[in-house]
Symmetry: none
Subunit: 238 residues, 2 copies
Amino acid sequence: MERGSGVAMWRQIEDRMKEDIVSGNWKPGDRLPTESELADRFGVNRHTLRRALSALRDDGLVRIEQGRGTFVQDDVIDYAVRRRTRFSENISNLGRQPSGEVVRAGPIAADAQAASALEIRRGQKVVLLELLAFVDGRPFSVAAHQFPQTRFRGLEKAYRQTGSITKALRHFGVDDYFRKLSRVSARLPEPDDARLLNMARAQPILYTESVNVDRDGKPIEYCIGRYAGHRMQLVFEL
Amino acid sequence: MERGSGVAMWRQIEDRMKEDIVSGNWKPGDRLPTESELADRFGVNRHTLRRALSALRDDGLVRIEQGRGTFVQDDVIDYAVRRRTRFSENISNLGRQPSGEVVRAGPIAADAQAASALEIRRGQKVVLLELLAFVDGRPFSVAAHQFPQTRFRGLEKAYRQTGSITKALRHFGVDDYFRKLSRVSARLPEPDDARLLNMARAQPILYTESVNVDRDGKPIEYCIGRYAGHRMQLVFEL
DNA sequence: ACGTATTTGTTCGTATGTATC
DNA sequence: GGATACATACGAACAAATACG
């Protein structure tokens, strides 16, 4: 690290920081020190430091968020959506650690969309199971799973016992189920979702509605999922 | 519209407003009068009016935004993605008018992603065809289509003559092709894309990468698509 | 960057009619 | 009739998000 070496200071800084990241010294999702602090540390003006940060951003190594800080870019997760889509299986296959926690659970009245997807009447009761899913301990998605209550009364308890929707469904005689449909759009997150996903409100999310059916093609689950856009891609193989 | 009729005031209001919307008296995107004004107009308390609005929102007829107002919900375009996905066909099937214009065209060098998708080497030439697509005259998507130049040299000219990728590909002996893969994520638009799509920079887009193959399973097209998130949903039927 | 006005969101409290046990 | 629960309706005040100068 030297001035007048023929190599611009910001390039030297870029290289140093790149090492810290690829070596794992700074881990994906970590917040870097503030620009001022880094500038002090490297003994340069904040402008110079920002030039290095921009270069790192262009390389996809960091993500700069106004008002929040600079973060080591998470490696993007390719979440495969197929006819048989299971969260835990999917994440495990990538060599990563899936986990989840319950945000909200209990019976609610179906709104128009849920009713239409589940082929029931609006206002009929559905079992809501809102789950926050993690990959390697980092929040990945929030999903409101809804099941018709006539068939799945008490499913939330079965989930709490087993920690898995697939297993909970077996208690109700559903030994296999399939993704019939996925609708995908892009939105800005609700404040609650932004908090749960630990992301800035100005960062977009993927918003999905999906319908799962049983062997007979009967809809059993309607799910509204919200995914932190910069952490993942949905992959559809057709 | 009467009190003591056995039908709750808020339900009567809901029905009246629903008529105004479905009849086209209020059009998609229109801002409704404020809650206070509507409450005055119907001669009820603001609470009562809000109840009617909630019902309309649950039916997907209006969208309520704090601090801004209540808006008649724009009709969202469900863009179906299947193995055989053709833009014009898709939009026509919805009873809407597809059109398109060329933003940019010509040979460029393949970057890492394009090369990997098309199974060529990085730096090899691809034919770029960047198209802005419209639905009913409103901008819908920007898509950078890329074809290996060894096989499709001059495809941009064939497109300009025929106005259709499907037809242009026929000039090169490709009489049918299929969507193999779609990767979907959510992003904020580049300034250029925001301008082309006529949307705010803070509004998210759907960002897709897709690969089309010919009958033999050979990749012929790699496409980066950007869609105005609030105007459409991608629908995957599996 | 800041204040002001506008608009929706939320939470108190109060009152009335209806159905049920 | 009395007690209770529930949906409906109104009023006032304040909180939160947004638009605009």
